[in-house]
Assembly symmetry: C2
Homo-oligomer: 184 residues x 2
DNA sequence: CTAATCGATGCAATTTTTTGCACTAATAGC
DNA sequence: GCTATTAGTGCAAAAAATTGCATCGATTAG
């Protein structure tokens, strides 16, 4: 959707190669914007064609050469302009909710298992986010403007995680009554 | 992703035509699973070919004929089996978060505007959800099993909405300090 | 030395989603 | 009666995302 902008944003601070970007997308930026290396490579080429990125080949000792991309002036301007354009949201599609619509005595146990599992995953992620917050964003008020924004994106992830945990608790409580009363 | 299952789930209680489904997708099911009528029509044809749905043409007085689809036994079984399969999640991609990464003195005002706007939208939606909850799911504990599941999907939307509102408040508070101190 | 392995890069086919249009039949305005 | 509009259905091209491979060097095992 706005993969182009996600990539350019990653390049704001440092020039990166395709694989470096792909790795970055598993960390920070990737917390809320997933992408695969294939997509990234393609998009990089497009952006270079457009003149928003410049590419320079870096010879590496021992390893194959890597192509490092950096924002051009035009790229920076395009990115800055983009902020004022329309904002798309692609809402989550979670098959778990769909499964809930199909809840039955036959599958409650299974669904409970899935919820429990997801709860665990989200909790792990939440620990990570909290650790980052504590480490880098202890006092948001005193951060430079741009970092305030980055902090808020992180905060969004934290809020969502917490919300999910509390939903899980409600769900598990309610579903426990089903298995409990229906016996077996 | 699992559009097929989303459609079949909508057909659990009643047979529907393409346009009726499309309208449904703007309501209940569509609260957490968006789709367009084009996609729905295509998927309906595929599912009918697979033998999971049957199609019957209904002549309507005055209007063009409509094709009404219903679940076949095979369809019901496939749907029931699907619940036990792997669960995919397609996490939200929200350009607003990307914009936050690009926060600057030049665009804070604009971003604040966008957040405020979204806050309003989410609040509206939340009112709707709450109304549905109050009307149909007053006492979740006493609902039949399947409706408990449906209720939990709704509850998920409510939790998410509330989470978003509280995030908005944090964000607006923090960003107010930026515009406040930078003056002008 | 040769073959198997690995990490980084990338092409290409397939599938999914989006976008734009087109047809049909009723309805409304003139 | 003729044209414009609207609701329901659907095709098809384009764009985006996913999946599966393919290459290219260096590295390790035999």
């Amino acid at each position: 959707m706005a993969l182009a902008q996600a990539i350019m944003t990653s390049l704001l601070d440092a020039d990166l190669s395709g694989s470096e970007l792909a790795r970055d997308f598993e960390k920070s930026m990737g917390f809320f914007w997933q992408s695969t290396h294939q997509q990234i490579y393609q998009e990089l080429r497009k952006l270079a064609d457009k003149g928003w990125l410049n590419k320079r080949e870096v010879n590496q000792s021992g390893k194959p050469n890597k192509n490092v991309y950096g924002l051009t002036l035009a790229g920076r301007e395009a990115l800055a302009d983009w902020v004022f354009g329309p904002t798309k949201v692609q809402p989550t599609k979670d098959e778990l909710l769909l499964k809930l619509y199909n809840l039955s005595d036959d599958n409650v146990e299974h669904v409970i298992g899935e919820i429990t599992h997801r709860r665990e995953e989200v909790m792990q992620r939440l620990y990570l986010y909290e650790a980052i917050r504590r480490r880098h964003y202890d006092d948001p008020g005193s951060l430079p403007v741009r970092h305030k924004g980055v902090y808020l994106a992180l905060a969004s992830g934290i809020h969502q995680g917490e919300q999910f945990l509390s939903w899980c608790d409600e769900a598990l409580t309610l579903l426990a009554t089903v298995t409990g009363s229906s016996g077996h």
